[in-house]
Symmetry: C2
Subunit: 195 residues, 2 copies
DNA sequence: AGTTTTTTGTTGGACGGTCATCCAATAAAG
DNA sequence: CTTTATTGGATGACCGTCCAACAAAAAACT
């Protein structure tokens, strides 16, 4: 059913298929043909909507980051104090959407290939900077700048680190657990800052 | 110069070449031929000392873990108190050897491909368990079991998370910085446990 | 000691398979 | 009738693995 405006539809469709294929077959075996097959279209169509495979993968990671960003912004709305907003950031990082097993695989693939792709590396830096800036904006209200920077780096690292473990061992039994550990770190450090 | 006992020499040589090649060309482009070329030997030799490419990669990761373990054990010797031993673990995780850019690449590749390989997944779990057990052994002397487990998980995650960032952005200007952040987390949490 | 035989190390290319990309052909929509 | 969507296969490149052949050291033998 060839119609105009297929571009947006097909691109989303292929991005979703890419995530699913990376999850099911692994990054190395996520071939153009397999992704197209998962999407239910022919292999040729991929290069009709994406310049090459790299662009499809880039769009895939981009979509995941956008999802995380939407989630974070959304949760920020219902937070009043700096503490609540930091908790909202932590919550978004460990939300159900992020704990989708399919996202695990794609995210890991990103880490595994970021070093070779300038585009992917830039995307990851964007994520890091965004997380750091979001945390800093609230932390500076609670402590001096130097402490804030260290704590923002620590919280960011802990989120990624915990996340990494679940990406390898599967969803945590209790999704609140990683949140609790991260929050405890924040509270303990912020508490000391007050003394 | 064919002599007996080449096996140990060639295997180490190829493992080193594998790390270097993964670093220089990326995991996906670390082909058998390229690794062999880096090692200065012909491509055929690889299958003379390793069953297949997978075994070479497995041996490569194994060697990196062994190096980390040696470093950790070594630093433990000069540590007397639980606190010092925990600091030794943190120190080993952020040692100069670990901050080798080549090791970054290979480690990241491991994460990016662990999901597809049972052998690699087992290796990563071994690393996680070992780190967790090492931390737990000391933490239980300072606080109750439940707090120890959470803190051990948090410290482990923070080490991996900080590490991940440096793997993408390069060596930290000040190698003591990630150690300081991790130690501060430990001190803040252990301090609260005493109150 | 010198010579042959065996073992071990090493090479470079052949083979079969896989993959990204390209393209000619087809078809429906505007 | 032009534009857009889509197909499925052709093409050329690359890669892991295998293998026949060669080389040198070690062992066995005379």
């Amino acid at each position: 059913m060839p119609k105009v405006g297929m571009k947006a539809i097909r691109r989303k469709q292929l991005v979703q298929a890419a995530i699913a294929t990376i999850h099911q077959h692994g990054f190395a075996r996520a071939t153009v043909a397999r992704i197209a097959h998962t999407a239910g279209v022919s292999s040729g169509i991929v290069h009709h909507y994406f310049a090459d495979k790299d662009e499809l993968l880039f769009a895939t990671i981009w979509e995941m980051l956008a999802e995380l960003r939407r989630d974070t912004v959304d949760r920020q709305k219902h937070a009043a104090s700096p503490r609540e907003r930091i908790n909202a950031i932590i919550h978004a990082s460990f939300s159900d959407k992020q704990f989708d097993e399919q996202v695990f695989s794609a995210w890991l693939a990103l880490y595994g290939n970021a070093r070779q792709s300038d585009r992917l590396k830039r995307l990851l830096r964007l994520y890091h900077r965004r997380l750091h800036a979001n945390l800093m904006a609230e932390l500076v209200k609670l402590m001096d700048r130097e402490r804030s920077a260290d704590l923002a780096e620590g919280i960011g690292a802990m989120i990624d680190g915990l996340w990494l473990r679940y990406a390898l061992t599967g969803r945590p039994d209790n999704p609140a657990h990683p949140r609790a550990i991260t929050r405890a770190y924040f509270e303990a450090s912020a508490g000391f800052a007050h003394l």
